[in-house]
Amino acid sequence: MTLHTLKLVTIISDDVLTQNLIADIKSLGAKGYTMEVAKGEGSHSSRTYELEGENIKLETIVSETVADNILMLLAEKYFEHYGLIAYVQNIDVYRGEKFI
């Protein structure tokens, strides 16, 4: 069984941005995403009650180039004003061609 190494990009953000973020990562070539509701605290925000807004955790498996482009777009468009964080990990997948 051959595994391919790809990038898993995780974005944690206020869920008011969900639709925008999904459109953005799709436009940069992501073939899919997985999304969960989350709570959290950070330097700008405390979102531990729904009334304070909810976080979403958006994960997408992409090639290294797409991962870089996603981070670059986030930096440009959101990081300055919005409470939003993002990180990248290496993962091994089977059927790598599905994601690139």
Binding site: D14, Y49, E50, L51, E52, G53, E54, H81
Partner: protein, 320 residues
């Protein structure tokens, strides 16, 4: 009914007591918390129910009665953020971003405070105009709109006008209130009878559960009172009083009943904590929630539903 017994029935309603229970629960660090999604579920119910009942009532009266009050509501909604913004900036020393964000909350209205006002009047068997829920729906948007435009003018905020308008007219508060209004209006009394056990019969009970959750959040945010400064605390108590009085006078002027004046006062006095925060989080993301949420939720909301309701009703009575 005198002010004192009105105050007692406002303070000892299950809704207000549940709100206090929530605060206490958080302060004693209880593990009571609502599951994810319950707050949103209750919000959807309340907004739709308020709209629906309002639409039904509106279907029973001639629509033209509503024109003048609607214009008065619009007008007040657009102006409140203007003076609020300048007061907050000039005397409160808030930067433009935060001042505009807070102004948006006071320009808009609180559906839950409205629900409490209705429950208060119903309990005292005081009548009010049937179009009041429609007035609530109309007054939700303009205040936020005005404040976002101010933010655009006075800050480096770059959100486009188009996306502001879109956000305001499509946010869930608007869709549920206005959608509910239209559905209640169109489906008439046949439709009303089919669904009123849910949307009318359970309304106050569900409001009680909702206020328990609001109390839990408020309890957590009470310590933020120290962070926001004395000015905002005074602002959060005095401005509602001023706005209520102003609205009651306008109400009297345009011919509302005492109950109607009081509700118009409550609408003007109330600060939104459903529609406004959502809009601000998108359109003025740099604004600090500690200011606007504490003001709307921890200061103005409790003031309104405890002391405010009987007080505004007494003020309204002065004019009749």
């Amino acid at each position: 009914m005198d002010v004192f017994s009105a105050l007692t029935s406002s303070l000892l309603s299950p809704m207000v007591l549940a709100f206090l229970l929530g605060i206490v629960a958080t302060l004693i660090r209880s593990d009571l918390k609502y599951p994810d999604g319950l707050y949103l579920t209750l919000t959807i119910y309340l907004l739709f129910a308020i709209g629906f009942k309002g639409g039904y009532k509106l279907s029973l009266i001639p629509l033209n009665e509503f024109i003048v009050p609607a214009i008065a509501g619009l007008f007040l909604g657009l102006l409140i953020p203007v003076w609020s913004f300048f007061l907050l900036k000039k005397f409160g020393k808030f930067n433009s971003t935060n001042a505009a964000a807070i102004a948006a909350h006071y320009g808009s209205v609180s559906a839950v405070t409205f629900g409490e006002a209705i429950a208060f009047l119903d309990l005292l068997h005081i009548k009010y105009e049937a179009y009041m829920p429609a007035l609530l729906a109309i007054m939700e948007i303009p205040g936020i709109m005005a404040a976002l435009l101010i933010a655009k003018k006075y800050t480096s905020n770059t959100t486009s006008l188009k996306s502001i308008v879109h956000e305001l007219f499509t946010n869930k508060g608007t869709v549920l209130l206005i959608g509910g209004l239209i559905i209640g209006f169109l489906s008439g009394s046949k439709g009303y009878d089919q669904v009123s056990p849910l949307f009318d019969g359970l309304f106050r009970g569900i409001l009680t559960l909702f206020l328990l959750e609001i109390g839990l959040v408020t309890g957590k945010k009470i310590r933020d009172l120290r962070k926001v400064g004395l000015f905002l605390i005074l602002f959060g108590i005095l401005m509602p009083l001023i706005h209520a009085t102003l609205a009651i006078i306008i109400g009297k002027f345009i011919g509302l009943s005492p109950g109607g004046c009081m509700i118009f006062g409550v609408l003007a006095a109330s600060a939104s904590y459903i529609a406004a925060p959502a809009a601000v989080r998108i359109a003025i993301p740099d604004a600090n929630p500690t200011y606007y949420l504490t003001a709307a939720l921890v200061i103005t909301f409790p003031f309104n539903v405890t002391v405010g309701l009987p007080l505004y009703y007494s003020i309204a009575q002065l004019f009749f």
